[in-house]
Every structure is written in C-alpha cells, then in structure tokens.
C-alpha cells in the first residue's frame, strides 16, 4: 500500500503540473530515488495502475537511483558506506548519522507532449518505450 500511495502522490503531482501547462499529456517522468527508499521496483510496479486515466497514463517512468553517502565528522569528508544500513565511515569506523544522499524521493523533471496531439507518436510507440524501460 505504501508504494501505491507513493505512486499516487507522484501521479497527482505530475498531473497538477501537466494541467497547469495546457492540460497536456505527459511523455516522460524523471524521478530520483535514494537507495534507502528501496522503492524502485515497487514504484515501477504501481505506476501503471496509479496513472490509469491520468495525464501520465502513457508516460515513460525513468527512475535514477541515488547512492548512500554520509558525512564523516572524523575524516571531514563525504563517504560511501559499505552497506545500505551500515552508517559508519568505511575508512575510520566512526558512526555517521549525517546522511548526505540516499533518502531522496524526488520528482526531477517532467516532459510533456506538444500541445498539438497529432504531432506526437501514437500510443504503441509510447507503450514500447515503457516496455523497454521496464525490461531494461
């Protein structure tokens, strides 16, 4: 249910923007997810049902995974821990609660189809693009 709530929030947010920009259909959505959110597969899975009947129904969802990085107070540097939940500096071993990246659940960009719907490819091409992305 959590992933569905997230997918619905995403669709709602994107739809608001698309509505503000001439009620145009959405071609592509670029999302940044931190590895700590562990939502990539779940969001892909829920997106098609959450987007049904919305302006993003035919959109390609692109998810970029953001790695976990932490700031080590001992080394005074940003480090990448060895495991997803191993919040320790990989070099000096100090606990590193200061997370720099890895928690993001960010809508980065939205690409819209041109206002004239006749200039966009048909549904089949959009579906193919989404299929490629899903099976990549």
């Amino acid at each position: 249910m959590h992933e569905l709530a997230l997918a619905r929030s995403l669709v709602e947010l994107v739809d608001d923007y698309a509505a503000q920009h001439g009620n145009r259909k959405v071609r592509r959505i670029h999302v940044r997810l931190g590895v700590l959110s562990a939502m990539t597969r779940a969001l892909y899975f829920c997106f098609s049902s959450a987007s049904r009947g919305s302006l993003c129904e035919e959109a390609v969802l692109e998810i970029e995974e953001v790695p976990l990085t932490v700031r080590c107070a001992g080394c005074r540097a940003v480090k990448q821990p060895s495991g997803r939940y191993n919040f320790r500096c990989p070099d000096c071993g100090l606990p590193t609660p200061d997370i720099v990246s890895g928690r993001e659940m960010q809508l980065a960009t939205i690409e819209l189809w041109p206002p004239d719907s006749s200039s966009r490819p048909d549904r089949a091409i959009a579906a193919d693009e989404r299929g490629e992305r899903l099976h990549a």
């Binding site: 249910m1 709530a5 939940y85 809508l107 041109p114």
Partner: protein, 257 residues
C-alpha cells in the same frame, strides 16, 4: 548554471518549477511534497499553540494503546492532553482513551496503511487540542509505511516490545532511522522470552546512532517515570516555552542507555 539541465539560468529548483522549453519542466520536488506541505501547516499550527505532538509508531500489538492509556492517565493530572488514534477500522482505541476522561479522535484509514498529514490536520480540527498541551498521535500498527509520512509532529517514538525479535531494527530500518526515541516495552516479560536487550540496542544504534532509548513495562510500572520525564522535558514541562522550543526536531534525552 542550472545543474539540472545546464541551461545557464540562475534559478532555485527547490522553490518553483522552471520550464526549460515548452516541453520540459524541471520540478525538483519531493514526491511526497503534498503531504509535506500539510505536515508543515500542522507543524506551524502546533508550534503556534505550543503543543508538543508525539507520533507513536510500532508493529501491531507492541503495546502503543496500553502505554498511551497509562501515560494520559498520569499526564492529564498536570497538563492538558489529547489523542488522535489511527487504525484501519473500529473506534476501540479512541474508546479506551476516552474511558480515562481524556479527549480522543479516531481516524479509520480503511485500506490505507498509515496516517498522513492531511488526515491529521482534519483530526486536529475536530479535536482542537488546547494551547500548551501534549498531543499523542497513535499511528496505524505498521513498521514500514508510517516512516515516510511526516505528520508535522515534533517527535517520532517507535515502540518495540520484547515479545518481538531483537533484530526488528535491522529488518525495518527505515522506521528506526526516522525515530527520535525507541521505547522497549513489556520488559516484565524478559525472563520468559529470548529477546536480547543488548543486541536490540546495538542494532537500533547501528541504524540510528542518535536514537534515544527507554525501557519500560506498563504492567509493573518499571521505567514509566523515565518515559513521563522524557515527555515533560521535551514538551517544556508545562512551562509554556516559546514556539522555538518545538521547532527543533531533536528532542532531549532524559534516560539514555
């Protein structure tokens, strides 16, 4: 230069979207930004009224309601207290709170697995918590989803009962990472279960090195004073501190292991 698209413009992607051409909109907003907006409204309202709001989370059956019932019985003698209860169905929990004489509102989430900030805002309208009071929000029993949804609370408290596994912090890390305080509950049952308190604490701190940890048993009263002190210290002890006291999301520890 804009780091999103390299367009050469100076603009703040956090504050507003930027249309780079007719088709591409750089949004740069949290997917949960709508919930976060409602949470900010709740937080402003709570701090404006000097209300200390605690979001209680745990798996089902960890003892959230039992802890709350005993907590509000004692706390309501010295300061105004109210409760928002979240469950998939029934008003059983709100009824248990009301039986103590404390005001409570029940939210039923239906198929939803967590409370969100919008629901809590409406529940606050109904409940109208008193200025300078403590507001407890008992979330739906679930260690996954409520971790992501900010309700506007000042502190998130995760309850882990000793009848559960001591590896829960590792199995549900997001919740333990998001919490300010972990309450180990039902410690009167420790002689009868295989729960290793040391391991649970070490595992929770591995996920969240700053986590404050309290141990208690509602049944025999062990540790209840420490828990009530934690609330008193973090809520300003009824001394009506200014709103800035609640702005910090770093509650003070009173009994840290």
């Amino acid at each position: 230069m804009c780091a999103v698209c390299g367009c050469g413009h100076e603009h703040d992607h956090q504050a507003h979207e930027h249309v780079h051409d007719d088709h591409l909109i750089a949004v740069e907003k949290s997917i949960l930004s709508k919930n976060d907006r409602f949470a900010d409204i709740n937080r402003r309202r709570l701090s404006g009224d000097r209300i200390f709001a605690v979001n209680l989370v745990s798996s089902p059956g960890a003892g959230k309601t039992t802890l709350l019932v005993e907590t509000v019985k004692t706390l309501s003698r010295t300061m105004p207290v109210s409760v928002i209860e979240g469950d998939q169905a029934t008003a059983h929990d709100a009824d248990r709170i009301r039986a103590t004489g404390v005001r409570a509102v029940q939210i039923n989430t239906g198929s939803g697995c967590h409370l969100d900030a919008h629901m809590v805002g409406h529940a606050m309208d109904d409940l109208a918590p008193a200025p300078g009071s403590v507001l407890f929000i008992e979330n739906v029993g679930n260690l996954v989803c409520p971790a992501s949804f900010d309700l506007g609370e000042a502190a998130k408290v995760v309850i882990l009962s000793v009848t559960e596994g001591d590896d829960k912090p590792l199995k549900y890390p997001d919740m333990f990472a998001a919490a300010h305080c972990m309450v180990l509950s039902k410690i009167d049952l420790l002689p009868y279960v295989d729960f290793d308190t040391g391991k649970a604490v070490e595992r929770a701190r591995r996920i969240n090195p700053d986590l404050q940890i309290l141990e208690l048993s509602v049944r025999d009263g062990t540790g209840m004073t420490g828990w009530l002190d934690w609330i008193a210290v973090n809520s300003g002890g009824g001394e009506r501190p200014g709103p800035s006291a609640f702005r910090s999301r770093e509650p003070v520890a009173v009994q840290v292991m």
